[in-house]
């Protein structure tokens, strides 16, 4: 019987070599790749996200954990088959038009991927109409908007408005974030949620997609 707690703990302690050994051992014992992914790696990244939220872990450690996880996912990939592709939600993420900041958004994107969601990272300087067309094309359930400037925050509202006008508002949950953004602002522009860091953003997205 595979000890998923051990996989989780090893991921959280960033011992990459040992983690890879544990994943290989688990496969040898006949544990399914899907179970290793969900109950070991994704569950471990949930802990990483929580620790990030509580400032027990910091960005370089989170990056290292994500890298360790993706190395393990490479091992599991050939064995996942169709079962593995049933994701926990399609997410569109991008920085709004006029804003070129990408670091925070990329962290959020990485955490959501690690949480098992299918993330389409559109990049920076994304116009409202491009968010709209991507929601349609990717059949997204979650849209994440990032803005790091007080001057580009109004573009978040315009993007939400464009999603409403396109008749897609009921299909998607909209999350907003970025240094100047607050819960109050999120409420004001009619978004569904706000998160202050990548760990809580990922947790919130999972909750809203469920």
């Amino acid at each position: 019987m595979t000890d998923f707690n051990k996989i989780k703990e090893t991921l959280v302690s960033l011992d990459v070599q040992h983690l890879i050994e544990l994943v290989n051992e688990a496969l040898k014992k006949g544990t399914s790749a899907v179970d290793i992914l969900n109950d070991g790696l994704i569950a471990g990244m949930d802990i990483v996200g929580e620790k990030m939220e509580n400032e027990d872990m910091f960005i370089p450690e989170v990056l290292m954990a994500a890298q360790a996880m993706s190395q393990c996912v490479e091992i599991l990939k050939p064995l996942l088959g169709d079962e593995g592709s049933s994701t926990k939600g399609n997410v569109i993420i991008g920085t709004v038009k006029g804003d070129l900041h990408d670091i925070g958004k990329n962290l959020v994107s990485m955490m959501m991927e690690s949480a098992g969601m299918e993330v389409y990272n559109l990049g920076v300087d994304i116009a409202p109409e491009d968010f709209v067309s991507q929601i349609r094309e990717k059949n997204a359930q979650i849209v994440c908007l990032s803005a790091l400037l007080t001057t580009t925050m109004p573009m978040m509202k315009l993007t939400v408005d464009a999603i409403v006008e396109a008749g897609l508002r009921d299909q998607v949950k909209i999350l907003v974030g970025g240094a100047p953004v607050t819960q109050e602002f999120a409420d004001e522009i009619g978004a569904d949620g706000f998160a202050a860091d990548a760990g809580s953003a990922s947790k919130l997205a999972k909750k809203l997609a469920a």
Partner: protein
């Protein structure tokens, strides 16, 4: 000597926003005086956060600050119409924050700056986003200096912001900006180097420790200005001490003055 641009009068800070909304002049005056006493060489004024109120907020802030300002102001807005108004309201030659190579920003700021006597902060940002290498930063700085020279702004009035990026996401971000600053100062000895410092420590604990150590390295590379909170006495003490160590403090007078006033303590 190092020039500190005091960053506190910014409506994206909660207490400042409340003071501006309530037209609480005492709060603003008190804050500006504190920054000046702490050694600020410029006071940055940013009224951008109350969307739709920038013009009247900037006007009120300048009316409030101007009578008690003993140092020049840094007019901080992306909107040339607001800058035009602000420019007419200030007494001392102001600093403008800022121009960049982003097409919209560049095209609106160049006509504003042409023929004006002012200092200007020039961000190494273009439409492709943040710079990705030392050469990238240095090339953008060159483009900015050459463009500004063409419209009559002397190199010594230009403050290049090389855009400090978080070391937490890539451990090479420190050396990247340090090497860029050396290259820029090599090409343009007269140009100033400024910018925010706190981005370097984003995503890490004990940020002020990182910021203070980083400013020491940046000053050695050629940074001679920064946009910071002058009420952070530890970073101010570090800056003054580094100025001395780099031979910019004749007879160590400013250092000793700082020690006697209690500003510098080990």
């Amino acid at each position: 000597m190092f020039e500190v641009i005091g960053e506190r009068i910014n409506t994206s800070r909660k207490l400042v926003q409340a003071a501006v909304a309530d037209r609480n002049a005492d709060y603003i005056i008190d804050d500006v005086k504190k920054q000046q006493d702490a050694g600020a060489n410029f006071i940055d004024v940013n009224a951008g956060a109350r969307i739709g109120h920038e013009k009247e907020d900037m006007c009120w802030l300048l009316d409030t600050i101007q009578p008690i300002a003993t140092v020049p102001l840094t007019l901080d807005s992306p909107d040339p119409t607001i800058l035009e108004m602000a420019f007419l309201m200030v007494e001392k030659t102001p600093m403008i924050n800022s121009i960049s190579l982003e097409k919209d920003r560049f095209d609106t700021m160049m006509p504003f700056l042409e023929g004006k006597e002012c200092k200007v902060i020039a961000l190494c940002m273009d439409d492709s986003g943040m710079p990705i290498s030392s050469d990238d930063i240095a090339n953008r700085a060159t483009a900015l200096v050459e463009s500004l020279n063409k419209i009559g702004i002397p190199t010594a009035s230009i403050y290049i912001d090389p855009l400090v990026q978080p070391i937490s996401t890539d451990v090479n971000k420190g050396t990247m900006v340090l090497n860029a600053v050396r290259a820029i100062k090599n090409s343009f000895p007269q140009v100033h180097i400024t910018g925010g410092l706190s981005n370097i420590s984003y995503g890490l604990p004990q940020r002020k420790m990182i910021n203070r150590t980083f400013v020491t390295l940046m000053m050695d590379a050629g940074m001679d200005s920064a946009i910071i909170d002058p009420l952070d006495s530890k970073i101010m003490a570090t800056i003054r001490t580094v100025d001395m160590l780099l031979g910019k403090d004749s007879f160590c007078m400013e250092y000793l003055k700082g020690v006697r006033s209690g500003m510098i303590q080990s």
